[in-house]
């Protein structure tokens, strides 16, 4: 689990695209017309600022057909943790998702895939038992059907409210990926802003191919925690996609508009 990242993310997207006609860019302050912004996949035309988008939108952008997998499970409150039940409820309301991930089968171009997309609006995309279980199941499906697995990461890390059970989801998902790897089924990990903590320290980092959107916050510890620990300012661009690419931890940085064509290129490579 790694801490709140809100203060560390700059520029911090204060909200997702609302239903109003106009929107102020968090990057440059420009007033943007909503419809135009949607056409541009929620990227500011002026400054290339990436608005955070929902798991559903990623599925829309990346796939041609999608069948949602209903696992019929929902988060419990095994620790009886302060305010957790309320947080789950408001997470559902805010995101429209049942938990911090949606999974399913999809077609991308001519390729059949198993796909999961994390939902940051649901408790910061945090990974509890349900997220871990859903990821395990979709990986197992990919293995069984021998279809590539794609995951869009967006998460602050393990879900504190489920304590140690959340931490164990790292082992659960990584074990499933080990099996997927042995079955020689490809896994493509797509990292978006932010992917940190226990999610980054497990399945998000384990792709056969790991790509990221530009300028996403990616790392293990949250910047605030690091700053507190080392008691000095962090370098410019620290823990951003470009930083990770430079240090050898990403295969590529891919613009949102290019994600689908890039995915098809990768899938073509594996499937031909």
């Amino acid at each position: 689990m790694w801490f709140k990242t809100k203060k560390g993310i700059k520029p911090a997207p204060k909200r997702e695209v609302p239903n109003g006609l106009w929107l102020k860019c968090n990057g440059c302050g420009e007033i943007l017309y909503n419809k135009e912004l949607a056409k541009n996949l929620w990227i500011c035309e002026k400054c290339n600022y990436y608005f955070r988008i929902s798991s559903k939108k990623y599925i829309e952008i990346l796939t041609d057909e999608f069948t949602l997998k209903e696992d019929l499970i929902e988060s419990d409150d095994p620790l009886e943790f302060k305010d957790y039940t309320e947080k789950l409820k408001s997470g559902k309301e805010r995101s429209g998702a049942k938990d911090a991930i949606i999974t399913g089968e999809a077609k991308i171009g001519k390729h059949r895939v198993a796909i999961g997309a994390m939902e940051f609006k649901f408790m910061g995309g945090s990974m509890g038992s349900v997220v871990g279980e859903k990821i395990k199941r979709i990986i197992n499906l990919a293995e069984k059907e021998h279809i590539p697995f794609i995951l869009v990461g967006a998460s602050g890390g393990a879900r504190m409210q489920e304590g140690i059970l959340s931490l164990m989801q790292m082992a659960k998902t990584s074990g499933a990926l080990a099996r997927l790897g042995e079955a020689k089924v490809p896994y493509i990990s797509i990292l978006t802003n932010p992917t940190t903590g226990g999610v980054m320290a497990s399945y998000a980092s384990l792709g056969d191919i790991v790509i990221a959107e530009p300028n996403a916050l990616l790392g293990f510890a949250g910047p605030r925690v690091i700053k507190q620990t080392i008691k000095q300012d962090l370098p410019e661009g620290f823990q951003r996609s470009e930083f990770l690419l430079e240090h050898g931890f990403l295969d590529a940085i891919v613009e949102r508009k290019e994600l689908k064509t890039t995915l098809i290129k990768i899938l073509d490579f594996f499937n031909s």
């Binding site: 801490f3 499970i73 620790l79 393990a158 140690i164 990584s174 620290f238 240090h247």
Partner: protein, 321 residues
């Protein structure tokens, strides 16, 4: 080494000293003091019982972090023969926050891995207080693979507050190093026995924490987040860590209830720091007991069961369509 006592340990220590002094001054046979000695000893037993059967989660965290608690280096000396430390990840550097090496237990060769916090200030700095960098995790994996290649079981001691959160750690891929370890350990083709002997600090612990059998010492803990950090998030006040420790359900008993560990290892009266030798004897017996049957399980079954065990972890509600 001058001992450090926790607040709730103090009355016990004082009473123990009183008994010891009386014993030395007058001897066991003195009729006058014999009665008094018996009385004090009864009082001591009761005091110990009251204290240790009612420990709060926070007191357990304090015991797990006790600066006099035995560390991996202590256990290695007390349990294993012919230990040879193996240094370095063969890529970047040697990370002293994790010790790795080879040794023998009752004549049987094993690979040893363990967090090391260091005892004195200088040592603590050298070992980075037991907080590993990516190269520590990579060194551990390198040595584990050595064990796999030559079919030697792997024994791991965990006692770390966290993986180190720093610039270098991020530059060298802390998340990637931990992730790779977790995945690789899931399928290593030799028995892996994990013992949490102090702090089981989040991903920093899990990075060397995937095994066939995971055991936790009675007063050790395993948590997704340090209580202080949890309190800082919940109440914007790290000093409320004792409350957070309670909320996180991080005690050995709870871990067993949640089925994230396979058993609890008994500690000497008052905790492992009160009796290194006894603590080591218990650990040695535990290791031998588990190695004994783990070695007989065919590799493919072992790995299958290991993955299955972690695959079943988690608690959620099933809903109707």
């Amino acid at each position: 080494m001058s001992p450090i006592w926790l607040e709730f340990e103090r009355p016990i220590i004082e009473l123990e000293r009183k008994i010891e002094e009386l014993h030395i001054i007058t001897g066991e046979d003195n009729l006058q003091t014999k009665e008094k000695l018996t009385e004090l000893k009864t009082e001591l037993t009761k005091l110990k019982e009251d204290t240790y059967s009612n420990l709060t989660p926070w007191q357990r965290v304090q015991l797990a972090r006790h600066p006099d608690r035995p560390y991996t280096s202590d256990y290695i000396k007390l349990i294993f023969d012919d230990f040879l430390e193996l240094h370095g990840d063969r890529h970047f550097r040697d990370d002293p926050a994790i010790i790795t090496g080879i040794g023998k237990i009752n004549g049987k060769s094993v690979v040893l891995i363990g967090s090391e916090k260091g005892r004195k200030t200088k040592d603590r700095i050298y070992h980075n207080f037991g907080m590993a960098h990516p190269e520590g995790y990579r060194k551990a994996l390198r040595v584990m693979k050595l064990g796999e290649k030559f079919n030697k079981p792997i024994i791991i001691f965990i006692d770390t507050s966290a993986a180190y959160p720093g610039i270098g750690a991020e530059e060298r891929g802390q998340a990637q190093a931990i992730a790779e370890n977790i995945k690789a350990m899931s399928t290593l083709k030799v028995p892996i026995l994990i013992m949490i002997t102090g702090e089981g600090g989040s991903g920093g612990a899990l990075g060397i924490g995937v095994g066939d059998v995971v055991l936790v010492q009675e007063y050790a803990f395993y948590s997704v987040i340090p209580p202080e950090a949890c309190a800082a998030i919940l109440w914007k006040d790290a000093s409320r860590a004792p409350e957070a420790a309670k909320s996180l359900k991080l005690t050995s008993k709870k871990l067993l209830e949640f089925k994230v560990i396979d058993g609890i290892i008994e500690e000497p009266d008052g905790g492992t720091h009160r009796d290194f030798k006894k603590a080591a004897t218990i650990l040695k017996e535990t290791i031998l007991k588990h190695l004994n049957y783990l070695s007989d399980i065919p590799t493919n079954v072992l790995v299958e069961k290991r993955i299955e065990k972690f695959a079943n972890m988690g608690i959620y509600k099933k809903i109707k369509s």
